[in-house]
């Protein structure tokens, strides 16, 4: 490893990740809020008469009212022969310009009560309104009904809309038309409470004298009939420039304006009609807040679309992988069945190499299980890699025949393996971790595929010995799936990226071809296997050769183990990246194996935090039934997959119940490890070799099975 320059572990990437997830959640939530996703009935649900009674000063007052925060009411009506046409729910890219064109044709002005979120979508339309001499008022940000909206939310709606309009038009709106409002006599007590809040924020409430009801599309004649005041009175007329087909509104305006103009009417904005100055120029600060809001809203929409796409891609990839895995599993099961017909063959002497560093807890069981193996000529070489515990003494005290102990100064697992390989006499080498307990026929079964001279290495089947608790069950399931679906697929596709250090057999010629085990990566088994494949050897999987291993029992140990695996796998992938463009077996490894690892073990896990954020967003904004259905669907597929893997391995289905719970801690740990590894790989620092503390669980398991 050379000189170890250990820097302080970087932490800033966790802050960045948290900030990123918070911003993503905020953006998605803004988008969810704006798009009314999950809004429970977007119309008012209030029954008639609900909400109490408003003061008569309001209900019998004029259309434009100033409601003070203290409940004071003052109002003004349009002067005679003056019409203030008002258009709600815009801006709309289709209808607003058409209405502006009609107004312009007759030199008329109108007042447009625009929805803040739509102003952010179509700021240029809002600008056109102002440029045409008309006025823009506020119609809240998402068309909420003030009377049934909480006070703080109403304030937020008004602020957002004011900022949006300020950014789009450069002017601050003064007029507010409460959504779902009509004439003053429709104001309820609850509405009045909301209007006090609106007034306290400095707005004039603009109700209507005449409600054209054009949103119902009652026909041009009906709109005309409802929009004409009698007796020369002035009026605020309510129409709509968005929310559906407004051709009737446009047609009615084309008749209404010239007809009333002929009677001496003028068409003014609300402010013009009341003799008020127009909306004041917005401050630069407010405009910038509006720009920020527009950016955030549009960004949120983009992100939501991007997330949908990402989910779609992930689902398609997962489905494709599942299909390929299922297909390969069936093929592989048949192949193994053919291979394992008849008795096990003797293939020459086998050397089992056990690198051990501080494995006192397990080494005795490991060595005993190896010696008890029924393979005829077998030697066990334990390489003590400078252990500081009693590992070497335990092996010596066992006094077992055919067991050799080699000691070396601590130099790392790859060096220990190479020492063992140098010492070995057999032409078939079985590499075993110091914490692994072999089944009695494991060595014999493991070497059988080496009958085929093209095969250079064989992966055995590792099983978790300590399956107690959630963590044990989760890892057990993960191992069963990984070995019975992933590895079978890799075998069929001839791109096995890893022969696990726990149980693997190698042909001496293959080991010589690649020059032994390299210490350049933390996942020396992956690195070694990739090198063997690139040297032209086949690497296969033998599911009947079973070894029991002790899985990490705490989250901290699991983190360390996975961090090493993940970082090491990345190192090996990078080291063998040339395989992507090579021909033959190396190219197969590169294009199939490395691409698979890159996609499913690096890129998708890196996107997984976003998926979790999206899940949270879904809980908040999507219909519960839909979220539950999607979750149930995914879980069902997951359980079915794991169930199939358990069936292939002849395991019990009991632990399946723990699978849905993986979503809570295990999943996050798995993807955060990938994130951590990626950051460390990019920063290029040196890592310590993370070891886990052994408790001897595999030993206990061996004892338990021996007694059976």
């Amino acid at each position: 490893m050379g000189v170890r320059r250990l820097r302080r572990e970087p932490r800033a990437h966790w802050v960045l990740l948290c900030l990123f997830m918070l911003v993503l959640l905020g953006e998605l939530c803004l988008n969810g809020y704006v798009s009314h996703v999950g809004a429970e009935g977007s119309g008012p649900t209030e029954p008639p008469g609900a909400g109490g009674v408003a003061p008569a000063a309001v209900t019998s007052g004029p259309a434009v009212q100033r409601v003070g925060g203290d409940g004071s009411v003052s109002g003004r009506a349009m002067p005679a022969k003056t019409i203030a046409l008002t258009f709600d729910d815009g801006p709309d890219p289709v209808w607003t310009p058409q209405i502006l064109a009609v107004l312009s044709r007759y030199h008329a002005h109108g007042t447009f009560f625009e929805i803040g979120s739509r102003v952010n979508q179509y700021p240029q339309i809002a600008r056109q309104v102002v440029a045409a001499g008309s006025e823009v008022g506020s119609h809240t940000f998402t068309h909420v009904q003030p009377g049934v909206t909480s006070g703080w939310r109403l304030n937020v709606e008004l602020t957002l809309t004011s900022n949006a309009i300020a950014a789009a038009t450069g002017r601050r709106p003064v007029l507010v038309r409460p959504p779902y409002s009509s004439q003053p006599d429709a104001i309820t007590g609850a509405d009045f409470a909301a209007l006090r809040r609106v007034g306290a924020d400095g707005y004039l409430v603009t109700l209507a004298d005449l409600d054209s009801k054009d949103w119902q599309r009652p026909g041009v004649a009906a709109i005309l009939g409802a929009s004409q005041p009698t007796g020369g009175a002035g009026a605020v007329v309510m129409m709509h420039d968005s929310g559906g087909d407004r051709s009737q509104t446009v047609a009615a305006l084309n008749v209404l304006i010239p007809r009333l103009q002929a009677q001496g009417y003028r068409f003014a904005t609300v402010s013009e009609g009341l003799g008020l100055p127009g909306p004041p120029v917005a401050s630069a600060g407010q405009r910038w807040r509006g720009y920020g809001l527009r950016f955030a809203q549009l960004g949120g929409a983009w992100l939501a679309r991007g997330m949908t796409l990402l989910m779609l891609v992930a689902v398609v990839l997962a489905a494709a992988r599942l299909l390929v895995q299922g297909f390969s599993a069936v093929l592989h099961v048949r192949r193994v069945r053919r291979r394992s017909r008849g008795p096990l063959d003797y293939l020459g002497p086998v050397s089992v190499i056990v690198p051990a560093y501080n494995e006192a807890a397990n080494i005795a069981a490991t060595v005993r299980s190896l010696v008890r193996n029924d393979y005829p000529r077998l030697e066990v070489i334990v390489v003590d890699d400078g252990s500081t515990d009693a590992t070497a003494d335990i092996v010596t005290r066992l006094r077992l025949p055919r067991v050799h102990l080699v000691r070396q100064d601590n130099a790392g697992k790859p060096a220990a393996l190479n020492t063992g390989i140098r010492y070995a006499r057999g032409d078939l080498l079985v590499l075993v971790d110091g914490d692994t307990v072999f089944e009695a026929d494991a060595v014999g079964r493991l070497v059988q595929p080496l009958k085929d001279p093209r095969v250079g290495a064989v992966s055995g089947n590792t099983k978790v010995a300590n399956r107690k608790g959630l963590l044990g069950r989760w890892q057990h399931l993960e191992y069963v799936i990984g070995f019975n679906l992933d590895r079978r697929m890799f075998d069929i596709a001839r791109c096995m990226p890893t022969v696990p250090g726990a149980i693997g057999a190698f042909r001496r010629a293959a080991v010589q071809d690649v020059g032994g085990v390299s210490a350049q990566t933390l996942a020396e088994d992956t690195d070694f296997t990739m090198a063997v494949i690139r040297a032209g050897w086949q690497v296969v999987y033998e599911p009947t050769a079973v070894a029991w291993t002790e899985a990490p029992a705490t989250l901290r140990q699991l983190w360390r183990q996975r961090y090493r695996w993940c970082y090491g796998t990345m190192q090996a992938m990078w080291k063998h990246r040339q395989a992507l463009v090579q021909r033959g077996p190396a190219g197969r490894l590169g294009r199939r194996g490395l691409s698979y690892l890159l996609l499913f073990q690096i890129l998708l896990p890196l996107c997984a935090p976003m998926v979790d954020v999206y899940g949270l967003y879904g809980l908040l904004f999507l219909p519960v039934a839909k979220v539950a259905a999607v979750w149930a669907g995914f879980t069902a597929v997951q359980v079915a997959t794991a169930g199939y893997a358990l069936h292939l391995d002849r395991e019990r289905y009991g632990p399946l119940w723990s699978l849905p719970l993986q979503q809570i801690v295990y999943r996050q740990l798995m993807y955060l490890v990938v994130f951590q590894s990626t950051v460390m790989a990019l920063l290029g620092g040196r890592l310590r070799w993370h070891r886990m503390a052994r408790t001897g669980a595999a030993t206990a398991h061996a004892r338990a099975t021996a007694r059976r």
Partner: protein, 141 residues
């Protein structure tokens, strides 16, 4: 058998420190961008109404004075004037006379509970269900 000692630097180790510096700068810039986006996200929610209404005389005027300035008959062209198709006109005509203004204007927002708002037509009050804007392009599938 001869197994050569495999040397070589561990993969990914950045001997010069150049890559580390590059990614520290990149990470810092990314963080800055994230902060700016967070700022943009929050900025839109800030800034309250000014409270001032240009050109509105005595916007904080007394209640009675304010409402007294209103002449409902002139202000309400939809009143009893009777524009045929309006279903509202019937209800509007039953609204309390201006004589009740003084009392009811002083009422709290939940005037009904105080019992000082003698408006008999409360049951005719209704909410107008105007069209809600729909079909936002950003709506989730």
């Amino acid at each position: 058998m001869h197994i050569p000692r495999r040397g070589g630097e561990p993969v990914f180790v950045d001997a010069t420190g150049r890559r580390r510096r590059l990614f520290v700068v990149l990470g810092g810039s990314g963080g800055l961008v994230l902060l700016l986006v967070a700022l943009a996200l929050l900025a839109g929610f800030t800034g309250a109404g000014s409270g001032g209404l240009p050109g509105w005389p005595g916007s904080n005027a007394g209640r009675v004075q304010g409402t007294a300035a209103v002449t409902p008959s002139a202000a309400r062209p939809t009143g009893s004037a009777g524009t045929g198709p309006h279903p509202l006109t019937g209800a509007a005509s039953t609204v309390a006379p201006p004589a009740g203004v003084g009392a009811s204007a002083a009422a709290t927002p939940t005037g009904a509970s105080t019992g000082t708002a003698p408006i008999p037509a409360s049951s005719t009050h209704r909410v107008v269900p105007t069209q809600t804007p729909s079909g936002h392009p950003s709506r989730k599938p």
